[in-house]
């Protein structure tokens, strides 16, 4: 089993000489990534900057990031898991089937070359994006990459890092982790945290219609989730906390406008390498912060008598 071998972006800047982007388009989606942390930054042990580093891009199509890369590997859509598993075999000098490797869109020579570069790097880093984690195979694609990177540490120092998206998604994972022990897909209905993605993860719960209410905080599932999930959100009482009107607010019963964190409310955001950064407000907002709204809801909930089987015996559940 894997686990994430990772580091901070500062280490990437100061040490990495092999940088792999897999299933992402950082030139468009993370425009400061190259200049601040990876390609162009001059680091303590990479004093030449861009010249001291090799960049490999793996993606299903040519994106604007291609022109920044030294090597571009175009893999067929949905074949990432096959490629990573082949790399794991090549790493151990195990045989692979050349014809089935060719079905991935890459040749055995290309993959062997990549493995040699990975083994010979002084400090390698693999950034993986939604092109890997959200295509067929999903969590197993991430598991494959994390395991590959863990195994590479038998040869050299190698780390991996997910290219996290908009907002403070890393923060949600990190805070869930130190409060419940699990990063997502947590169920607290029995009074203790239980973790089972597929059973308790948001989309699965909504698609099956397993919940009878929803509180949505700083997210817009109405714009991104599959239609059956959106239909269920419209069916049940949904409460949205968001600075702006979103697709989800339109189908919600209640929308509470809150102050924008980082602009008119203070807070903490986590960078993609899980470094917490304080946010200082520059403007004043007439709206309450997310924290204040949640705290006030919680205070009202706390006043309600605790639910117990004895109380339930008098009032049967609906």
């Amino acid at each position: 089993m894997g686990g994430k071998v990772t580091c901070t972006l500062g280490e990437v800047k100061n040490r990495a000489d092999l940088i792999i982007y897999w299933g992402g388009n950082p030139a468009d989606c993370h425009p400061l990534h190259f200049s601040r942390y990876t390609l162009n930054a001059k680091g303590k042990h990479v004093p030449q900057g861009r010249k001291g580093r090799t960049m490999v891009l793996v993606d299903v199509r040519e994106t604007p990031s291609v022109r920044f890369s030294d090597i571009f590997l175009q893999v067929r859509p949905g074949k990432d898991f096959e490629v990573v598993t082949t790399l794991r075999a090549l790493l151990k000098n195990r045989p692979v089937d050349e014809a089935r490797v060719a079905e991935t869109g890459l040749t055995l020579e290309q993959l062997q070359n990549l493995v040699d570069r990975m083994k010979n790097a002084r400090f390698g880093v693999l950034f993986f994006g939604m092109g890997l984690t959200m295509t067929r195979g999903k969590h197993m694609n991430s598991a494959a990459v994390l395991t590959l990177v863990a195994e590479l540490n038998a040869f050299t120092k190698f780390v991996s890092m997910p290219m996290r998206g908009h907002g403070n998604v890393t923060g949600a994972d990190v805070v869930m982790r130190w409060t419940t022990g699990f990063p997502f897909g947590v169920n607290l209905s029995r009074g203790y945290p239980r973790f089972n993605p597929g059973e308790f993860s948001t989309i699965d719960v909504l698609v099956r219609g397993d919940n009878d209410a929803a509180l949505i905080l700083g997210a817009d599932p109405g714009a991104t989730m599959p239609q059956p999930a959106i239909d269920h959100l419209a069916r049940i009482p949904t409460i949205v906390l968001d600075p702006k009107l979103t697709h989800t607010s339109r189908l919600a019963r209640v929308h509470i406008t809150t102050a924008t964190t980082g602009i008119s409310a203070p807070g903490t955001a986590y960078r993609m390498d899980e470094i917490p950064l304080p946010l200082k407000p520059i403007l004043k907002s007439p709206y309450p912060t997310d924290e204040e709204v949640i705290r006030r809801i919680y205070e009202k909930v706390k006043v309600k008598p605790a639910w117990s089987p004895a109380a339930y015996a008098k009032v049967p559940c609906a």
Binding site: M1, F81, E82, T85, T86, R88, A89, K92, R94, P95, V96, D97, E98, R100, V101, E103, T104, R136, G137, M140, S189, R190, G191, F195, N196, P197, G198, E199, D210, N211, D212, W307, P309, Y312, P316, C317
Partner: protein, 270 residues
């Protein structure tokens, strides 16, 4: 025999690990009615959701669409559990013995981490059949799961011993990280046997394979005849007649091991 008839489909999942022959075997009627269940976060009684008949028996029958009732038969060691209708997730998880029979379909994680007993599912099943729970190293360690229909993702994930036989086809990642045991499928989608270290996957049709599986010849293994005879008594036919065809043997997954085997049936051209 004890019969429980579901009054109506619960609005949210009902967690009912008390519905197991081990629990009800020695209980009187009113004690069975008072057994705890969890509807969401609320603890309720069996008779809130079920019409109970009978008492003190290790034969239990559940009637109605229990597709939202989870953990039925959890950890059971004996007796017979029959579900006329569908069953929800985690059916027979951690079970050690006894028999579960479902006439309809079952949800995900049926027979997860079981170590003995028999589960028969008349319809389709969800994913992670006989699998290991997230973060756990080993899935089912013994016992048998028979499915008449098809099944979902990650069937037999990290299983170590025991048998899973599925008449229909399964989705991706069947036998993922398998460590032993036998998985028989009618067909499979992608990535069958990914990262398997040991064990046998038998497919009754040709299936797409990962690049990390190596072709190792054709065979008609003797042990399959034993499986064919045993499964034949349960209505599962596994071809093993050398005059009708042969199994293509692939070994892998070379990313982790070369001791796993995938056997794909190929009838002789006639």
């Amino acid at each position: 025999m004890i019969t429980l008839s579901l009054k109506e489909e619960p609005p949210v999942p009902l967690e009912a690990e008390a519905l197991s022959p081990d629990v009800v075997a020695t209980l009187r009627y009113d004690e069975i009615c008072a057994l705890p269940m969890f509807l969401g976060k609320r603890q309720c009684r069996v008779d809130d959701h079920f019409v109970v008949e009978g008492e003190a028996s290790d034969e239990l029958e559940i009637r109605g669409d229990a597709g939202r009732v989870k953990w039925i038969g959890r950890g059971m060691t004996r007796g017979r559990l029959r579900i006329v209708g569908n069953a929800g997730m985690h059916l027979g998880a951690y079970m050690k013995g006894g028999t579960i029979e479902v006439t309809g379909s079952a949800g995900d994680w049926a027979g997860a981490e079981m170590s003995g007993g028999l589960i028969r599912i008349g319809g389709n099943a969800g994913g992670q059949i006989g699998a290991a729970y997230r973060g756990s190293r080993t899935g089912m360690t013994d016992g048998t799961i028979l499915i008449e229909g098809s099944a979902g993702l990650e069937v037999g994930m990290r299983m170590k011993r025991g048998t899973i036989a599925i008449k229909g086809s399964v989705k991706d990642f069947a036998g993922l990280e398998m460590k032993g045991g036998t998985l028989i499928v009618g067909g499979a989608e992608l990535r069958t046997g990914a990262w398997m270290t040991r064990g046998t996957i038998v497919s009754l049709t040709r299936i797409p394979l990962l690049p990390t599986f190596a072709y190792s010849g054709t065979c008609n293994p003797t042990f399959l005849r034993l499986y064919a005879r045993q499964l034949g008594t349960c209505g599962f036919s596994v071809p093993c007649d050398a005059s009708a065809g042969a199994y293509l043997l692939y070994t892998g997954d070379t990313a982790v091991s070369d001791k796993g085997e995938i056997l794909a049936w190929q009838p002789h051209a006639s």
